[in-house]
């Protein structure tokens, strides 16, 4: 389940503008397969975490209302070039993914 995740950072002074593109199906559990009339099981990201040099800077609880292939943008203060950023998520099936980037 290592679908790629892509991170871009842009440093303005000590504020890092961070943008993350995640690839996830984000099934709500509300849709039915039109052919079989069976409910498509829910499958969505529940926990998102971002750390800078190991320190948590963002922690979020997501739900089925977030779109497929979500985009996450946020700013972190007190960051310098070369800091290590890690973004990770865990979904309702317990699948996890994470990606690293060096702030620049």
């Amino acid at each position: 389940m290592a679908e790629p995740m892509k991170i871009r950072t842009q440093l303005n002074g000590d504020v890092a503008d961070i943008r993350v593109a995640m690839m996830h199906i984000m099934e709500t559990g509300q849709r039915k397969d039109p052919r079989t009339a069976e409910v498509i099981p829910a499958h969505y990201i529940q926990q998102v975490q971002a750390t800078v040099n190991g320190k948590t800077v963002l922690s979020a609880q997501w739900g089925p209302a977030v779109s497929k292939n979500p985009f996450l943008g946020f700013r972190v203060r007190g960051v310098k070039a070369g800091d290590k950023l890690v973004v990770s998520w865990e979904d309702n099936k317990g699948e996890r993914n994470s990606a690293e980037a060096v702030v620049k």
Binding site: K6, R8, S67, F71
Partner: protein
């Protein structure tokens, strides 16, 4: 149900016939046409007939009216949906991920079969700038080739692999190939007779009414039509410049889609049967559309 299906088939046949594929059948089908707008193919994107070119022709123009973007301002359509290319230029979105996936496939395949890269690069082991000249006539294959057709051809010829047009993999590889020409102006060569002929056929298709609603593409995408007016929450824009950002990541779909797949979506809205990606009629339409983007820079990866 069955009736609609039969009707749709007939209409698809009619669209095909309009492409000159069945000249005999074309004579029997009653067709209506939207009045033609004057287009000078030599002008490319700058020949835009909607009067909006000045709003989307470059970054400075887009910046000037940035406040229209995503707003309910009745002028917003004049940006021709080009502002996501600008806003997202330093950004990251699923279009980038798709390009990465396409690149990974090409690299892996080329490591196994170097001929694959040479085939995509038309003899050079290099893809930079290649896509800017598409669609083009391939004298060896005696065929009009789009980037997607080239990908399918090279996969078959060099990898013995079926990477059919319209498949997610084909579209991702095509997006990668096009991204290697990002920023370069499109230059479809109209001096090649088969390309000019395709342009004329594509133009004809653009004005031909099809489907249960008897719409032509021109019914929504020319001045004096629905273009610039609200249509169920959307506003149809000019066809000029469109080819530059395809394949594009479609947020409502969650996938990258090729220009042919977009044609299919509009045909569905027109209640006409869409054709298969790669169909000769779509290739003609793509030639027409891409000539209307001549001189405009390629902006792949993109998001719409």
């Amino acid at each position: 149900m069955t009736l609609t299906r039969t009707l749709r088939r007939t209409l698809a046949a009619a669209l095909l016939a309009g492409a000159g594929l069945g000249a005999a059948a074309a004579a029997e089908v009653y067709r209506e046409h939207h009045p033609r707008a004057a287009i000078d193919p030599a002008q490319g994107a700058a020949g835009d007939f909607s009067g909006t070119y000045g709003f989307w022709k470059d970054a400075a123009a887009l910046e000037r009216h940035r406040d229209w973007a995503g707003s309910t301002d009745p002028n917003a359509w004049k940006l021709n949906w080009k502002y996501p290319d600008l806003v997202d230029s330093g950004d990251v979105h699923a279009g980038h991920v798709a390009v990465d996936e396409g690149e990974r496939f090409v690299r892996r395949a080329a490591a196994r079969e170097p001929g694959f890269l040479a085939c995509l690069g038309e003899g050079r082991n290099e893809l930079k700038g290649v896509a800017a000249g598409y669609p083009k006539y391939d004298a060896k294959l005696k065929k009009l080739m789009t980037v997607e057709a080239r990908v399918e051809h090279c996969a078959k010829a060099e990898l013995w692999d079926d990477v059919r047009q319209g498949s997610p993999l084909n579209t991702k590889i095509a997006a990668y190939v096009k991204s290697q020409s990002a920023g370069l102006p499109i230059r479809v060569d109209l001096s090649a007779a088969p390309v000019m002929a395709a342009y004329r056929r594509g133009e004809q298709l653009f004005y031909t009414k099809v489907g249960q609603l008897n719409f032509a593409c021109a019914s929504c995408h020319t001045p004096g039509s629905i273009m610039g007016h609200k249509l169920r929450g959307e506003v149809p824009t000019t066809p000029f410049g469109d080819a530059a950002h395809f394949p594009t990541y479609r947020t409502p779909v969650g996938e990258v889609e090729s220009l042919h797949q977009r044609f299919g979506r509009c045909l569905n809205q027109m209640r006409a049967q869409p054709l298969k990606p790669g169909d000769p009629a779509y290739v003609d339409l793509e030639v027409f559309y891409t000539v209307l983007s001549n001189g405009y820079p390629i902006t792949v990866p993109s998001i719409r």
